[in-house]
Structures are given as C-alpha cells and as structure tokens.
Amino acid sequence: MPPLYSRRMREAWITGIGLVTALGPDRETTWRRLVAGESGIGPLTLFDPSEFRTSIAAQVDVSGLAIPLLQGLPIRHTSRASRFALAAAAEAMRDAGFQTVEAHPWALVLGGGTAGLFEAEAFVARRLRGGPLVRGLGELVEVPQDAPTDRIAQAFNVTGPRITVTTACSSSTIAVGLAAELVCDGEAPVALAGGTDALCRLTYAGFNSLHAVDTEPAKPYDRRRKGLSLGEGAAVLVVEDASHARARGARPYARVLGYGVTNDAFHMTQPEPSGAAWERTVRAALVDAGVSETDVDYINGHGTATEQNDPAECAAYRRVFGGRLADLPVSSVKGAVGHCLCAAGAIEAAATALAIARAIVPPTSGFAEADPACPVDAVPDKGRSGDIRVALSSSFAFGGNSAVLVLGRAT
C-alpha cells in the first residue's frame, strides 16, 4: 500500500505532448507555425455566423485528426471535443513511448468544457421549436462535461483516479497542476492531463453578448486590442514520476515544479483590476514550486486581448517582478490558436514545456504596438531563442478563478 499522500517525495516530468489546434492537427505542426508567428484565426465555418457580431474563430480542421477507435462505439456518438481529446491523447501517448493497450493504473485529469454541447445544440434547437423528444439520443450522450475524460479512459484503458476540473478558462491549467500533484503524492506513476473544448453557438453567442470578442484576430497586450478570438482544440500531456520515466529511458520536456490557484472573489466576468488578486496566485505558485521570482525566465501569459484582462494581468506581474518585468518575455498564444477556453491552459502548458525543452520563446501573434497599460516584452513577430530555467503558465477564468503553473527544466 502506498504511503498516504507522501508529498514532494517525487518529481513530475512532462514526457509526452499531444496538441490539436487551429494551427495544426498535431504537436509539431502547431509548434512550427506558432514559432513562425502564424495565426490559425480565420472565417468560422462550423456553423453559420452571419447573425453574430463577429464571424471569425480559431477553428480546427478535423480532416487531419488521427482518432483512435473506441471499441464497440460508433464514432458518430463521439463529440467534436472528445475527438480532439482522443487525438491529442493518442499523440501524447506515442510521444511518451507508450504503445501498449493493457490497463494503465494511471491518473487522468482533464479540464472539462463544453464537451458535447455543439452536438446537443441541434437537439436543443429542435426541442425548443417543438420537435419530438424521441430523436437525438446520440446528440445528448456527451452533454456531461466529463464525457471526453471518459472517452480517453475508455480508449486507453486508464484505470486510476479520473478527475474532470471545470473552472472555465483555468480548468486545464489546474488539471495539469493537479495531475502533477497526484504523481508527486504517489497516487499514480503516470497521469494524463489536459483539456479539450470545441466551438459552439452558446460560447460564440455568449462572448459576443459580452462584447468581449474582436471582429479581427485577437491582438494580446497590444494597444489596438478589442477583444479575444474564440478557439477550439485540445492538449494532453503525459505527466510522469521522474523515477518511472528514468527507468524506461524516457526523455522529459520539462518538470512541473508546482502550481498556485486562488480566487479573486471580485466579479463573475471581470478581473480585479489592481492585479493584487492575480499576484496572490503567482506568489502561491512560486512558493509551491520552491522558486523565487528571480528564477523565472519566461511567462506564457493568459493574454486574452480583452480591454480589462490584459492590464490586470500585467499589473499582477508588475507587482511580483517589479522593474525586472521589462526584460522578462511574456507572450500569449491566443493570437495564434484563439482562446480555447477550458483547453487553453493545457495548450499553453504544452507550449511552455516545448519552449523550455527547445529553448525558444514563442511569440505573441497579432502583437505590434505596445500599450503602456501592458508594459511587457510581448515577443512580437516570431519566436526567439532563449534559455529558460523556470517558466510560468498563467490562466484566469470566469468567476475569478486564476491558476499559475510553474514549469522548469527537468534534469
């Protein structure tokens, strides 16, 4: 019997990464285009956007997805969000060198978002218009937010603790942190961690109703920013006990040093503007990781490109890093892959791990003109070389839930 929650006896390494984004159906395509400063934001074709205020999104091209077959399950009952998750999980497993199909006593922690809502919307529309109850069973199967988590467990026979975190846009940041905690606690030698989210009419209409969406591609930290661009996708990371990874000769991208999670208790949709609340999250993460602010070489920021969010975020960094912030690269991938909501944190954690492993700081696509309210080095144009010892991956969510992951080099 493993000891009860023997914290910090182990290190958690990231040994596999799978990505599905609007930039590409896999990790390497996404990374290559991300570093090149490209954007996946374009015309939305998943549904008719003509009645919406905006008509763009970072939509995934599903034609290139490699989806593992689920035993006995018609693929038509698997939601778009689950397909992203399955493709990302399959890539992460391959990347980590896990080929087998026997039962894995691993943990599985995902950020749960809209799950099968895009499919369920067709059912809801029919019922609201007086259509019959008897139709649409398949469209409702994945309404529960943990359905994609169940699908991954089913596809890869994962039998350990299975957790779905749903804290909106910080969901999968917390999922990665919690997965690392499970590994460090000795609850599982390996954890699959990540998040998935798919575009749907609800979120598209909702963010439009809040006037939080730009009609043009998002420009994080930029003076001209007018809002976010919605996106979709998935990221799954293999988080592994370092001794387990060493024993099988796996090479790590990075180590999860710790994470912080707090609530600003301020407003459902607006961040606490002084940055004091977000500062608490950053400091909690640094304490949990056992590093100081001077160890941090890069921040993968939340950077939604909304009018209020970016300044509050930068204010928090200013409070933590002081004058050093001017020389600290802070970039947001949301100008490239959009805001993928419950998948955003995992996608950004993956980008951060790749940045550490490859010593390249990814750029902020869309950023061109500095804003005094966002006094950061936002890494314009293209990725740049940079030796990164410790990096933060930062997320903020509806309801004031912020989370910060601390990743470092695995040695």
Binding site: G136, R151, G206
Partner: protein
C-alpha cells in the same frame, strides 16, 4: 420528469433580494447551504478568508442558464443573447458566486464527474488541506433540475418511470467545512479517500465492480483501519438495478462475510453530485455521533444481511460510482 425538486426552497432571511435575484438557481441553493455550514462558526470566522477555499461537485449546474441563452439564439437572434445569463452557463458559477458572496479567496475548484462529483469535492478538499493550499475548505455539491438533463437520461432509460426502475435526479446543494485546525469540537474526521476507474462509455456503468472495490479498499487502508472496523455503509444505490448488483458484489469483496449496518439515502433526495455530498454529510453526522441514520438499507443490501443502523457508528464508508466507470470512496471516523 423524475426529479427531486426543492419546492419549498427560499433565499428569504439568508440572502438580500437584490443579491438573490442576480444569482442562478444552483448558486442560490449553494449559497444557502453554505451559509448554514458556516453558521457554526458564528461571527468570529476562525480563518483568513484568503486562506479559505471552495471545492464543488456538480452534474449539471449551468444547464438552465445555458438553455436560456440558446433559447434566445435559436428562437430570436444571437444578437439578443442575454449577457447577464452567460456567466451562469459555466458549471463553476455556483462555487464562484459563493466565493464572491463570502469573500473567500482560496482555491475555488469545481469538479464535473456526474454521480461522483460531490464526493470528489470532499476528497480534493482533503488534498488541498494536506498540500496547505488552504486552511479550510467548503466542500460542496450543487445540482439543478432541468428538462435537458432529465430528457437525456430518460432517453437512456436511466430514470424511474411507471413500471420501469431507475434513478430520480437530485436538485439541491450541500456543504461541509473541512479544516486543518478545526477547533475544539470537530464533527468528524475525513480519515481516508481513494478513487479508481473501470473504463465504460459516459452513459453506462462498467460491467464489473473493480473500481468500487479498489476505491473502497484503498480508502479503508489509508484511513488506517480494516474493513471490519466499518460500522456503517451509506449505500450508493440509486434505483438502477445494475448499480445495486455492482454495489452488492463490491461490498462482498471489500467486507467479506462481515455485514455492518447500511443506510439507503438516495431514495430521500435523488441521485447526483449534490446527492453525493448529502450522503457524505450523513456519513459525517453519523461518525460524529450527531445522529443515527436509522433509515432502512436498500432492499438489495437488506436481503444480503446488512442490518439497519441502531447504535453509534464511529467509522463510516461512503462511495459513489459514475456512469463512465469512475469510483470514489471516503471514510469518515469519529474524532
């Protein structure tokens, strides 16, 4: 629809009308339950509010707000989607609104795990405390009643109807306060927890009881006790015959021939994440000696020799199994 609705629920005398009006129903339910849980501490809140976290489990919070937004999108115009409703469509709205209302700045995490969510919130509250991410955590469950969820599970044949056994969905909320240093009179101790899974499609229970067995066995071991120390089992039965069979087989493997007292609870308030938290609340109250839950065991357990509780239970096992195959068990003990 077979849903156990909180018909007499009111926020009067708990929340100011203007505050209550801007909250969605699951947020109101949770706010009231949390106020009751926090009332035990009176005006002298014993912890810094920035060090108090919230964990919540939910199966369906946000559904009614979601339907309101979609009603506008589909029947009127996307341009008219109500911005005030949109934040309530996220499942973490009840926990987040609670954080705002009570000014609790610790970690605030919601778990979506169907029937298991309510117990998950308690287990992760325990982990949060051990990791010193908070000094106290409000561990909650909240669910709402809405036609979309009910229709979905009705179509799956999982709900109770005339002549068809099945579950009744739960609407409601429950909250427990867990603390590292709970003061001189804690109700009970969360002594152990564990979870495991047997993969199955999201809408089905697994074929075998292995995940329940593993979760219960590990939780009992982590609590530092043996199966024969269990005085009371709070049954996970929800009216679905397949779950009865799974539970019976699992308990036989965990307990062997030993038959502690058992109590059925879901018949009282239905099934869901909030129901899970309510069952944990019964377990904590029983372990703390505050009550003897003398409700009869469900028929499948009574028939197998599990008696009705008649005396003090100092060690209580409560477990849950979700569609999709995730299981979680908690052990509460007297302090």
């Amino acid at each position: 629809m077979p849903v156990a609705v909180c018909r007499d629920f009111s926020t009067a005398n708990v929340l100011p009308p203007l505050v209550a009006r801007r909250l969605d129903r699951p947020s109101r339910l949770l706010a009231v339950a949390a106020r009751e849980a926090l009332a035990a501490f009176g005006d002298q809140f014993p912890w810094e509010r920035e060090r108090v976290g919230i964990t919540a489990g939910t199966w369906n919070a946000g559904t009614s707000a979601l339907l309101e937004v979609l009603r506008t999108v589909f029947l009127a115009s996307p341009d008219e989607a109500p911005p005030a409703q949109f934040p309530s469509t996220v499942a973490n709205a009840p926990a987040s609104q609670l954080g705002i209302l009570e000014k609790l700045g610790g970690p605030n995490i919601t778990f979506a795990e169907k029937q298991v969510g309510g117990l998950r919130a308690i287990a992760e509250a325990g982990r949060m405390l051990l990791a010193r991410r908070a000094d106290a955590v409000l561990a909650c469950g909240a669910d709402e009643a809405d036609w979309l969820n009910a229709e979905g599970y009705l179509r799956l044949g999982a709900l109770r109807t005339d002549g068809h056994p099945g579950m009744v969905l739960c609407e409601g909320a429950a909250a427990l306060v867990l603390a590292r240093d709970p003061g001189s009179q804690p109700l009970a101790a969360l002594a152990g927890w564990a979870s495991a899974a047997t993969p199955a499609p999201p809408y089905k229970y697994p074929d075998g009881p292995s995940s329940v067995v593993q979760a219960c066995t590990t939780a009992i071991a982590r609590a530092g006790i043996t199966p024969r120390d269990i005085d009371l089992v709070v049954s996970m039965a929800n009216g679905i015959p397949a779950l009865d069979e799974l539970e019976l087989t699992a308990l036989a493997q965990v307990l062997g021939p030993y038959r502690p007292a058992a109590v059925g609870a879901s018949e009282r308030f239905g099934e869901g994440a909030a129901a899970g938290t309510l069952r944990a609340l019964i377990a904590a109250l029983a372990a703390g000696g505050a009550t003897t839950p003398a409700w009869d065991p469900p028929p499948h357990l009574a028939g197998a020799g599990f008696p009705t509780a008649t005396g003090r239970a100092r060690t209580v096992l409560v477990a849950a199994l979700a569609g999709g195959g995730s299981a979680l068990a908690l052990v509460f003990t007297a302090v």
